[in-house]
């Protein structure tokens, strides 16, 4: 029974592929009088698989995007003591459909002096990395879209494409606020990419592979509970997870790191000049990027699809991702926006040294013996002491100047 639900989508996919191959054979018999050759059948099966994976990812995560906008508005409303959307559908659940229709029918305004081509291309390009990033995450047992040897670095490489798209949006609009927002976005995303990648390095060090499938496999145990092997339970894993979450929030330009949009300062930053569905695409890219980052966080630190065998593996993956998204929404409703210089100082003076030290602590953990329970406990305590000591020293060092007023170097 458990295996049936666990492998439901895998079986469904195999059945659909078989259906397409059978249909291809039928067509081939009608036209040429004989079924397809073995190579042709293989190609048809592989092609169908690719199309199925793409359609599933687009469909599932586009729906998740819609529901996430609803969830975010509802949760923020709860935090701010108001109702939130409650007119369309039960609990306002269909609000995102109404919004989608509204976006589609809105006038598409292009500024007269805009760089037309760049302005047009930016929303399309910004969505591509956000969608591609899902291709590297194993969603469940036997449910990895691709099984690359270099999946983790591929994920970050694809993600790096989005900063260029944001710059194109800001530049193409030919608007002062847009270009300011774009430059803020580029500076912030380049700065936070470094702690983001360095936070993932300890996991790669311990597993000895960049493949997301192998990273998930390394966190699994055969037991029923299947939570013991998660990297978040180790001191370096916990520190790495926190670092990763902070850097991921900054990478997806979400509050408290939303200075590229900064509604109260630069109106809406890089997407001031976008209306209608182009604006919706930016919105979608932000949410999809956030969900993909949550997915990578789950894969690297929270054991991927491993979990107590009460729920199917894919349900565990989605549930953990959902919890991270909820945490991000909670953070957005709680914290005020950072100042630009505080943001940069935090990335370079606090997160970068801490991430580097975390790598060192991971190396210590790696070489400490962990065969008996006592040895593991000692290793855990030593690594934890290293991480906590590093945190205390760095935070004291950084917080000394945190409350200082901003020094204007070029503007005063």
């Amino acid at each position: 029974m458990y295996n049936f639900f666990d492998q439901l989508f895998v079986a469904l996919g195999a059945w659909l592929v078989g259906l397409v191959v059978a249909a291809g054979n039928g067509v081939s018999k009608l036209c040429c009088g004989q079924p397809m050759s073995e190579a042709a059948a293989h190609n048809v099966a592989a092609g169908t698989q690719v199309v199925l994976i793409c359609v599933t990812i687009y469909g599932v995560f586009a729906l998740c995007f819609g529901l996430a906008t609803w969830l975010e508005r509802k949760m923020l409303a709860r935090i701010q003591n108001r109702y939130g959307p409650n007119r369309v559908g039960p609990f306002g659940l269909l609000q995102f459909v109404a919004d989608g229709v509204k976006m589609l029918t809105k006038e598409d305004i292009v500024p007269a002096r805009a760089d037309k081509l760049v302005h047009f291309l930016a929303p399309a390009i910004v969505l591509a990395p956000a969608l591609l990033m899902f291709g590297f995450l194993p969603f469940g047992r036997n449910m990895a879209p691709t099984d690359l040897d270099t999946a983790v670095i591929a994920f970050f490489a694809v993600g790096a494409g989005s900063e260029l798209a944001l710059f194109m949006a800001g530049w193409g609009s030919r608007n002062k606020y847009s270009i300011l927002g774009a430059l803020r976005a580029v500076a912030q995303m380049i700065s936070y990419e470094i702690p983001l990648v360095l936070a993932a390095v300890p996991v790669v060090m311990i597993v000895g592979s960049l493949s997301t499938s192998q990273i998930v496999a390394a966190q699994g145990t055969d037991s029923f509970l299947d939570v013991k092997g998660w990297f978040v339970w180790t001191p370096w894993g916990f520190a790495g997870f926190i670092l990763f979450l902070i850097a991921a929030t900054a990478e997806s330009n979400r509050s408290p790191f939303d200075i590229p949009e900064g509604e109260s300062e630069i109106i809406a930053g890089f997407h001031v000049e976008y209306s209608g569905f182009k604006f919706a695409l930016f919105f979608m890219a932000e949410y999809l990027g956030m969900m993909a980052m949550a997915g990578l966080g789950v894969t690297l630190f929270l054991g991927g699809w491993h979990g107590p065998k009460l729920l199917p593996s894919w349900a565990w993956f989605m549930l953990k991702g959902f919890l991270i998204v909820c945490w991000l929404i909670w953070l957005r409703g709680t914290l005020p926006r950072l100042r630009v210089d505080q943001l940069m100082a935090f990335a370079w003076k606090a997160m970068l040294p801490f991430a580097l030290f975390n790598i060192f602590a991971t190396a210590v953990w790696f070489y400490l013996p962990k065969t008996t329970f006592l040895q593991s406990a000692v290793a855990w305590i030593i690594t934890a002491a290293l991480v906590v000591a590093a945190y205390l020293v760095i935070s004291r060092f950084v917080s000394r100047r945190a409350g200082a007023p901003r020094v204007y170097r070029y503007a005063s």
Binding site: D115, L117, V118, L148, D149, T150, I153, A154, F156, A157, V158, A160, G161, E163, L164, F167, M168, W171, V186, I190, E193, G208, S209, L210, R409, Y410
Partner: protein, 167 residues
């Protein structure tokens, strides 16, 4: 030649040609990015996916952004005061390009690795690359690291000097 090679070549060559011919500098930089993607595609085509991803991560993620910042600090974006075709600038540019091209040509031609064909069906392995870098090539690796550190310190020193001048 198969279709993938032709498509990749078209993308790469188009990006490279646009990067040097387009008048709008931002468009030129964006075409350069297209070129970088084409090169990354070639790495994937040659089964070197690690190098391909690093190409995207470093060139699209960092070098392109650097180029954009450099362009935005220049004054004349559309190059209205274009010099004539046979100006001195063109001549020096052509001389430099010819020199660099000749050096690269001879370096590549004299390299023994160029005459070997890749063994078929061997995918690049990240672990192997890492092991090589830490054993056989550790000295060049460290030299490059030192160079990058020196460059970074240099950048910081330049920035710090500006701060003290402003005061």
């Amino acid at each position: 030649m198969d279709t993938a090679f032709i498509i990749l070549s078209l993308i790469t060559v188009a990006g490279a040609v646009w990067a040097v011919t387009l008048r709008n500098l931002i468009h030129a930089v964006l075409s350069l990015v297209l070129f970088f993607f084409g090169i990354a595609g070639f790495f994937f085509y040659l089964n070197a996916d690690f190098v391909g991803w690093v190409q995207i991560l470093v060139y699209v993620g960092a070098v392109a952004i650097l180029a954009i910042f450099a362009v935005m600090l220049t004054h004349n974006l559309t190059a209205e005061d274009e010099p004539g075709f046979f100006s001195l600038r063109w001549l020096t540019g052509m001389a430099i390009a010819a020199t660099v091209g000749a050096v690269l040509w001879f370096a590549i031609r004299s390299n023994a690795a160029m005459s070997q064909t890749a063994p078929a069906g061997v995918a690049s392995n990240v672990a192997d690359i890492g092991r090589k870098m830490m054993t056989d090539w550790v000295v060049p690796f460290e030299v490059v690291s030192l160079l990058l550190t020196a460059a970074m310190i240099g950048a910081i020193v330049i920035a710090m000097e500006q701060i003290s001048h402003r005061k």
